[in-house]
């Protein structure tokens, strides 16, 4: 059913159709609208047989989900940014215990400095947690991925995180085909837990595993992710059959067949990248795009195939690893390690800075002209950082660089020093 609505509402609608039994909510921008909407559904009894629990922290949110999932209930929560970091111990734990919790991550930057806008630093912080991590390019995908997420999670007994760009998607109102209850019920069978706390068949879940078996446990977690690699595409196919549209899968491609330069990216920035591609293609440039939907498990083979014979691969990412560079780039680099393509990382859109079509066209053009460095910070204000670096070189003191930069930018009044 087509509706004009906010991304958060669309996601909430899909989640409600998945009939979660325990939903834990703790407010953090920009995820909040999702759980608010679900809470309203529970309270209005649109969603029955569901406990909506207002917890006291994200750590509790994931912990409640763990308990609920281990007791045979379909459990859901949502978070963002600092909230994800606050629950990170439980995030790892849910994966380690193999509990099929589904969580929406409304991607947002991590402080300090505190910043409520979109980037992917939060998701990158948990990339090794053992969760399946799916990235939505637009709100239709975001909506559909949630339905697929429950199916995948429960089939594999693995938690699934659906990453939806904060504000850019969560707060954007656009046309979305929200699944109907009938469609979802046909696609998503009731939750049959692989392991469950039941007095009739008691087990001990969460044993302490020592050196003698820890490696095997970890290997099995990896093997499960590899199974997910198989199933993600299949589930997307089954979804397409049931819902009449394609959503999800491991990667999405755009004009890669003959591309000289391929841009690889996660999430909503792909839309702008595709616009830039169209612009360049119109001028005859052979450029293409690969969007990664499944960041974990990481589709090395599919990605390599999609990149094909491009001579230049540019990873545009909304996160980076200080002191190193791109995060996604490392994974992409591994995928193309046998190819002749050269790899560049473009760090863009941190903390909500707009990634413009013009900026991306510049990146493409520099790539085509072999002028793109290995690591570029898109739209970086060089003057500001150079001044601060000079100051730092002079004093060699740790101090509030952020404040200095802001002062240089004229955002705050000077006079503190």
């Amino acid at each position: 059913m087509l509706s004009q609505l906010e991304g958060s509402r669309a996601v909430a609608g899909a989640v409600v159709c998945c009939r979660p039994q325990v939903v834990c909510a703790y407010p953090i921008t920009p995820q909040t609208h999702i759980v608010e909407a679900i809470g309203a559904s529970v309270k209005s009894r649109q969603l029955k047989h569901c406990r909506f629990i207002n917890v006291e922290s994200e750590f509790a949110a994931m912990s409640v989900a763990i308990g609920a999932s281990a007791t045979g209930a379909r459990a859901y929560t949502a978070t963002a940014s600092q909230g994800l970091l606050f629950m990170i111990e439980a995030v790892y734990n849910a994966a380690g215990l193999g509990l099929p919790v589904v969580m929406t991550l409304a991607n947002r930057a991590i402080g300090a400095p505190i910043n409520i806008w979109n980037d992917h630093s939060d998701a990158m912080a948990v990339r090794d947690s053992g969760w399946v991590m799916l990235f939505a390019e637009d709100n239709q995908t975001a909506t559909d991925l949630h339905v697929q997420a429950f199916r995948l999670a429960e089939e594999l007994s693995l938690p699934v995180m659906v990453c939806v760009d904060g504000y850019v998607l969560t707060h954007a109102t656009e046309r979305v085909d929200v699944p109907t209850q009938e469609q979802v019920d046909a696609f998503l069978p009731p939750y049959k837990p692989r392991q469950v706390l039941d007095p009739a068949d008691p087990v001990s879940i969460g044993a302490m595993v020592g050196p003698e078996a820890f490696t095997e446990v970890r290997y099995l977690a990896h093997a499960k992710q590899l199974q997910a690699l198989e199933r993600i595409g299949e589930v997307a196919g089954e979804f397409a059959e049931g819902f009449g549209r394609h959503s999800g899968g491991l990667v999405s491609t755009y004009h890669v067949e003959d591309a000289e330069v391929v841009i690889v990216a996660l999430g909503s920035v792909l839309g702008t990248i595709k616009d830039a591609t169209d612009e360049l293609r119109a001028n005859g440039a052979r450029v293409g795009v690969v969007g990664i939907t499944s960041f974990r498990p990481f589709p090395l083979d599919v990605l390599r195939e999609a990149i094909g014979d491009a001579r230049k691969v540019v990873v545009v990412e909304r996160a980076f690893s200080a002191g190193f560079g791109g995060v996604l780039s490392t994974d992409v680099g591994l995928a193309i390690s046998d190819a002749k393509a050269r790899l560049s990382t473009v760090v863009a859109g941190l903390g909500g800075r707009a990634v413009t079509e013009a900026g991306l066209i510049g990146v493409f053009e520099d790539a085509l002209g072999d002028r793109l460095e290995a690591l570029r910070f898109l739209d970086l204000d060089k003057d500001v950082v150079d001044r601060e670096l000079a100051r730092m070189a002079g004093t060699r003191r740790s101090g509030p660089s952020a404040e200095n930069v802001l002062r240089d930018l004229g955002t705050v009044a000077s006079g503190a020093l």
Partner: protein
């Protein structure tokens, strides 16, 4: 049965009680089985079975079995336990063996209360209100790292009995101070050196009173030394729905540097000295306190424990009279506050 010949004697009218062991021992072959403790029952659950790796004389292993066996009886075996990280978790479930005999889940150190909330919620939505939930943690997992989740569980009044096995320090990590460590106690992070050896005075968190302040239905304290009292409290706790809290003192021979054989004796002295008040509270008000039967000065309790050895000289006489006096004042304050020397309130 017929009366004996009494030769015109005056008959005494005292009721016949079981004075041989009174109501203090685990069982008594002479009393009705329904009046014996759950632990006296050869068919008890043994919620933690043999083969666990707790130290010799572990009070926590004992306390957890006491609590869970009583809860198993109270719920007809329909019980799920959630466990925080800590000794109890480690010594019961090293792969490939578990000592638990009931559905049991360990997640993390600080989240037992929340996980239990999730379990209870899941049971509720599945219409399994017959199955009850216990969360258990040590004092660290309760008063320190687990307090946020516990407080949330309390204020939401989630249907969970949270049990704190209080051995007054972080034992699993090597005896470090917690918010439940008593004043003057030596731990690895409050060494017995300097002018005020051991843990400082005027610190620490009184969890039972904090629990009461949350207004939850039922709060109780107990020790492993009085099984009848403990089991009655577990049973009572299971009569309530909503958040409940049981704070159980469990001596730790390792962390307290006490003889393994003295575990119960020390717990008894903690109560009889007044240092550990045993009481229960309903809806935020103290309704009963377990009176002191044989009052002892605090040094009798302290003397058996290496963590207080710096308070005594080599002959066992009190050396740090000022510190012992301050501890005695704490005991006296408890005695006063809870009326521990008055006749039993219960």
């Amino acid at each position: 049965m017929s009366k004996a010949k009494t030769d015109g004697a005056i008959t005494t009218t005292q009721p016949v009680k079981f004075y041989q062991v009174g109501s203090f021992a685990v069982g008594n072959r002479l009393v009705d089985p329904s009046l014996r403790t759950v632990q006296a029952d050869a068919a008890r659950t043994n919620a933690i079975t043999s083969g666990h790796r707790a130290c010799q004389g572990c009070g926590e292993a004992l306390g957890a079995r006491y609590v869970l066996d009583a809860a198993m009886r109270a719920t007809g075996g329909k019980l799920v336990a959630v466990n925080a990280t800590g000794c109890l978790e480690v010594f019961t479930t090293p792969y490939p063996e578990t000592s638990w005999q009931l559905p049991w889940l360990h997640s993390l150190f600080g989240n037992a209360a929340s996980v239990a909330t999730g379990v209870a919620a899941a049971l509720e939505v599945q219409g399994r209100n017959d199955v009850r939930v216990i969360a258990q943690a040590g004092d660290g997992g309760t008063v320190d790292i687990g307090f946020g989740c516990l407080s949330g569980m309390f204020e939401r009044n989630d249907d969970v009995l949270f049990v704190c096995y209080d051995n007054e320090a972080y034992m699993n990590t090597g005896v470090q101070r917690s918010g439940a460590t008593p004043p003057a106690a030596r731990t690895a992070t409050t060494e017995a050196v300097g002018r005020e050896p051991g843990n400082p005075f005027d610190q620490g968190k009184n969890l039972p009173r904090l629990a009461m302040a949350h207004g939850i239905r039922y709060v109780a304290t107990a020790t492993v030394a009085d099984l009848h009292d403990l089991e009655a409290k577990v049973e009572r706790a299971m009569d309530f729905r909503g958040a409940r809290y049981l704070h159980l003192l469990v001596p730790c021979p390792l962390g307290w540097s006490s003889a393994p054989a003295d575990t119960i004796r020390i717990a008894r002295l903690a109560k009889e000295s007044g240092l550990f008040p045993v009481f229960e509270a309903v809806d935020g008000e103290v309704t009963a306190a377990s009176g002191i039967r044989r009052l002892v000065p605090v040094e009798e309790y302290l003397r058996l424990q290496g963590r207080f050895r710096h308070l005594f000289d080599s002959s066992g006489a009190v050396a740090k009279t000022d510190i012992v006096a301050r501890l005695q004042k704490l005991a006296d304050a408890n005695i006063e506050r809870f009326g521990l020397l008055q006749p039993e309130v219960t």
